[in-house]
Amino acid sequence: MLVEIKDAPFEPYQCLLDYQANAGFAGKYGATAAFVGTMREFNQGDDVEAMLLEHYPGMTEKYLEKISAEAATKWNILDSLIVHRIGEMLPNDPIVLVAVWSAHRAEAFDASRYLMEELKSRAPFWKKERLAEQTRWVEKKT
C-alpha cells in the first residue's frame, strides 16, 4: 500500500509499472484496476488555461492512507497505490492515479471505485482554475 503526493508532472502508467515490479504480489494477482484522472481544458462551459492544486500537508496523506486501509479491510485485495498531483498544472496533465491489485476482478473494480469516491469526498485537496480573464476556486460537486 502506497500513497504519494507529486509536486511535478508524473506518468501514471509508469508509476503503476514501477510499483508493480517491486511489489510482493507477483504471481498472485489476476486483476489490476487502474483509474487515471486528467486535467481537462474546459470546465463549466469555460476554457481553462491552468490549474493550481492545493493540499493540507500531513492531513492529505493521512486520509489517503486511511481510505487505503479501509479498502483493504472491506475487500480481499492484494495491494493499492494512490498517486496525486499538487501544484500548478496544465490541461492534459494527469491529476490522480488509483490502482488496485487483486486475485479476481470484482474486488479490484469495487475497491478502486471506493478509493476514488472517498478521495474526492474526504481527502483535503482544492482546485483553483485559471481562465483567460480570472481565477476561480472549483466548487464542490455532488
Binding site: 482546485k127 476556486w137 464542490k140
Partner: protein
C-alpha cells in the same frame, strides 16, 4: 520546561483568502471549542456555512473541544481527484 499554551490555526484554499490569513496562533485560555477558536482567530467573522474543520488532522464539528498544542484547521469542501 514550559510550553506556550497556544493553539495553532490553519486556513486553506478559498477560506484562506476569505479570512486573509494562512496561519495563526491563539491563546488556549478561554478556548473551549473549535467554534471559539474560529471566532478568536478571525476576530468574530461569520463562519461560512459549508466550512470543514479538523483538529490534529481529523475531521470534527464546531463543538469539538480543543486543548493547548492542538492544530485546528478550517477549509472549504474538498475538490481533489
Amino acid at each position: 520546561m514550559t510550553t506556550k499554551a497556544v493553539i495553532t490555526v490553519k486556513f486553506f484554499a478559498s477560506l484562506r483568502e476569505h479570512v486573509g490569513q494562512t496561519e495563526a496562533e491563539v491563546a488556549e485560555s478561554g478556548m473551549k471549542s473549535v467554534a471559539d477558536v474560529w471566532s478568536q482567530a478571525t476576530n468574530n467573522m461569520a463562519l461560512p456555512e459549508n466550512t470543514l474543520m479538523a483538529v490534529n488532522m481529523e475531521y470534527v464539528d464546531s463543538s469539538c473541544t480543543v486543548k493547548a498544542g492542538d492544530e485546528v484547521a478550517f477549509f472549504p469542501p474538498v475538490t481533489g481527484g
